[in-house]
């Protein structure tokens, strides 16, 4: 009882935030005072367990305007842009709920960290171009007072995509679209390839596209930490917990064609703490699903997909976790400093790592070879049988190499068309998606974050039009698919 009285007396947020945080700047030593009071009560009434002033600092606030499920790069990017584009300072209360603060399984930290503009869809190219300029000016976007500037360790070495005979025509038209959108990409013939990169074996390669600017790889952890610091300084709440339930209300409405639709609105999010049954209901206005590989579970909690198949109610969010392995090897005679990230015709890719003749790479398995996504154990046999032969064929120097280490991570794989899902759900009207990017989420995160924030604050996409990434396409069956070889 006192627990509910106190917040009203002393202002919301005192019980939640620790004193001395940047936003409040209290000089009260609240934690110290609480422990003193508890000691006094214990000395007066020995034997009572003091649950009059329980410690709720680990719980999220009871009310929040926006709840972002998932604290990876996409979730933090949406939080950042919401706070940046809000019309009044402190106007929106944002809560980011992340299940694992160590990010041990999050796709962001385990990612290879590449950014490139060589897509076939104009929206993807624009997103990557914006992300490149965001990363270039990252210290203007994410500057925090008294914090050192961020060093993303960006390697502007570019991407080299190789195409066989049958993909060459598609690659040419893609490069034309990319050039129209402003990406600096050039086409190379096998002879030019051999001149420029003497270590490459151009057997089976008909055409190659090489990105010259704004392409390369960087450190995703640095971006994540930078976003996290900036977002905390802007006043976003963080909570370590798992979303277990949505409490929503439904409304029956008639469409213009006199069809009955049931529109749902989420009112509360139940956030459960780690290793306990304690949960906190958070009243919210908008929920953003940025849970990456686990987005489908969150969507199922909201009732998306519960209905007869083939209808809009029955359309599930087609995002599932897919495991991808990355291997690091050492090859002293390998390609030199000018190596871009090379993506072979077979789907194998590799890039240089550091200055010590180390390389990292992997390959996307075919549908039949898909590994089991229940754990993140690395399959070394896959490297021996399915990756190494292709690498050795493309780069003869890789015939002698020694694998140093390897790790595995999840793609939030969109089984429908391998492109992201952005925007509100047609029936659950206050759930917005920012997930399903199937391996290129990191490089598009700044652009997608801005798009979702614009959708929420202004009702439509203002800068980059991502209407072809809305949820509706799963029901209507319209695929926005890339036809690149990546």
């Amino acid at each position: 009882m006192i627990r509910r009285v106190l917040p009203h007396g002393l202002g919301r947020g005192l019980l939640i935030r620790r004193p001395g945080t940047r936003r409040g700047g209290f000089s009260l030593d609240w934690d110290g005072k609480v422990s003193e009071i508890k000691k006094k009560i214990k000395s007066i009434l020995p034997g009572t367990s003091c649950d009059l002033l329980p410690d709720t600092s680990h719980l999220p606030p009871e009310h929040s305007d926006v709840v972002i499920v998932g604290g990876g790069v996409l979730g933090l990017s949406v939080a950042y842009w919401l706070k940046k584009l809000e019309s009044r300072r402190g106007g929106i209360r944002v809560l980011v709920v992340e299940r694992d603060h160590t990010y041990s399984q999050a796709s962001t930290g385990l990612s290879v960290g590449g950014i490139c503009q060589q897509f076939s869809l104009p929206e993807n190219i624009q997103l990557s171009l914006f992300s490149a300029s965001f990363l270039r000016n990252i210290n203007e976007y994410l500057a925090v007072t008294n914090a050192p500037p961020l060093d993303l360790q960006f390697n502007p070495s570019g991407y080299l995509l190789l195409a066989s005979e049958k993909d060459a025509a598609a690659m040419e038209s893609n490069v034309k679209v990319q050039k129209q959108e402003g990406a600096k990409v050039c086409l190379m013939s096998p002879d030019q390839l051999r001149n420029k990169f003497p270590w490459i074996n151009t057997e089976g390669v008909a055409l190659a596209s090489y990105g010259m600017e704004n392409e390369g790889w960087f450190d995703p952890w640095c971006l994540l930490q930078g976003l996290r610091q900036k977002v905390e300084s802007m006043g976003v709440f963080f909570c370590q917990g798992e979303v277990t339930r949505f409490v929503s209300s439904s409304q029956r409405m008639l469409t213009t064609d006199d069809e009955m639709v049931i529109l749902k609105r989420i009112h509360e999010v139940h956030v459960k703490m780690d290793h306990s049954l304690e949960y906190q209901p958070v009243e919210c206005a908008i929920v953003i699903n940025a849970a990456g590989a686990w987005s489908a579970q969150i969507a199922a909690l909201a009732g998306i997909g519960k209905g007869p198949p083939g209808t809009l109610q029955g359309t599930k969010l087609p995002v599932e976790p897919r495991k991808r392995d990355v291997y690091v090897w050492h090859c002293p005679q390998g390609p030199g400093l000018e190596t871009p990230l090379v993506a072979d015709t077979s789907g194998a890719y590799f890039r240089r790592e550091g200055l010590g003749s180390n390389y990292l790479g992997g390959r996307s398995p075919t549908e039949e070879e898909e590994p089991d996504p229940t754990n993140l154990e690395v399959d070394h046999d896959f490297f021996q049988e399915k990756v190494w032969p292709h690498l050795a064929l493309r780069v003869p120097a890789f015939e002698t190499l020694k694998v140093q280490t390897a790790w595995a991570g999840y793609y939030d794989y969109n089984t429908f068309d391998q492109n992201g899902v952005v925007g509100p759900h047609p029936l659950v009207v206050n759930m917005y998606f920012a997930t399903g990017f199937s391996g290129h989420g990191l490089q598009q995160a700044p652009g997608v974050g801005r798009a979702v924030a614009e959708m929420i604050l202004q009702g439509s996409f203002q800068t980059i039009d991502l209407s072809s990434f809305l949820f509706n396409r799963f029901y209507l069956g319209e695929k926005t698919q890339e036809n690149t070889t990546m």
């Binding site: 270039r136 360790q153 960006f154 390697n155 502007p156 070495s157 570019g158 010259m212 600017e213 704004n214 390369g216 400093l337 000018e338 200055l355």
Partner: protein
């Protein structure tokens, strides 16, 4: 400035100082120049002389600096002609327009605050042979990745003292063969 050396009170004593001060010395090291004897007694009158002729010691420094600069200008010539400079209104002489077709061969942007967007202007110079970007504070790896259009003509590139360039940017200079 009080240890300014003046041989005597005549006006051409100032010229004496300017001649001894060659370009390698800074203004503050004037005191290290030759000290003629008999100087000490006349110091108080030197100060009076100085304050009579110059309303401000800064103006004296400016005057000396201008003298020095004009000497430097005499020494460096652009193709045996004077450097083309704007006049006091900031306008260039009409002969400047004759040079529109002449390709720019060398750009010295040392100590200049050029940044990523500023390189747009330099990349249009298709016949650039020498580009000096020494000690530019905003030139970083992203800027280096933009230099590939100059690959055909560029012979000399200097990035000495740029604090933001790292080995990752240098790795993408392989375009400039």
């Amino acid at each position: 400035m009080w240890d300014l050396v003046l041989g005597d009170r005549r006006i051409n004593s100032l010229r004496l100082v300017a001649r001894m001060w060659n370009g390698t010395r800074g203004i503050h090291r004037l005191g290290g120049a030759v000290v003629p004897e008999g100087n000490q007694k006349k110091e108080r009158t030197m100060l009076q002389f100085l304050t009579n002729h110059f309303y401000d010691v800064e103006a004296l420094r400016g005057y000396l600096l201008q003298r020095e600069m004009s000497k430097v200008h005499m020494k460096n010539r652009f193709r045996d002609k004077e450097w083309i400079r704007p006049d006091k209104y900031g306008h260039f002489s009409p002969e400047f327009w004759n040079f529109q077709e002449v390709p720019v061969e060398a750009v010295d942007a040392s100590d200049c605050e050029i940044n990523y967007e500023g390189l747009d202007n330099l990349l249009l110079l298709k016949e650039l042979q020498s580009l000096l970007l020494q000690r530019c504070p905003h030139v970083d790896d992203w800027c280096l990745s933009r230099l590939y259009p100059l690959a055909d003509s560029l012979q000399e590139l200097s990035l000495a003292g740029c604090p933001r360039v790292s080995e990752r940017g240098l790795a993408c200079l392989h375009h400039l063969q």
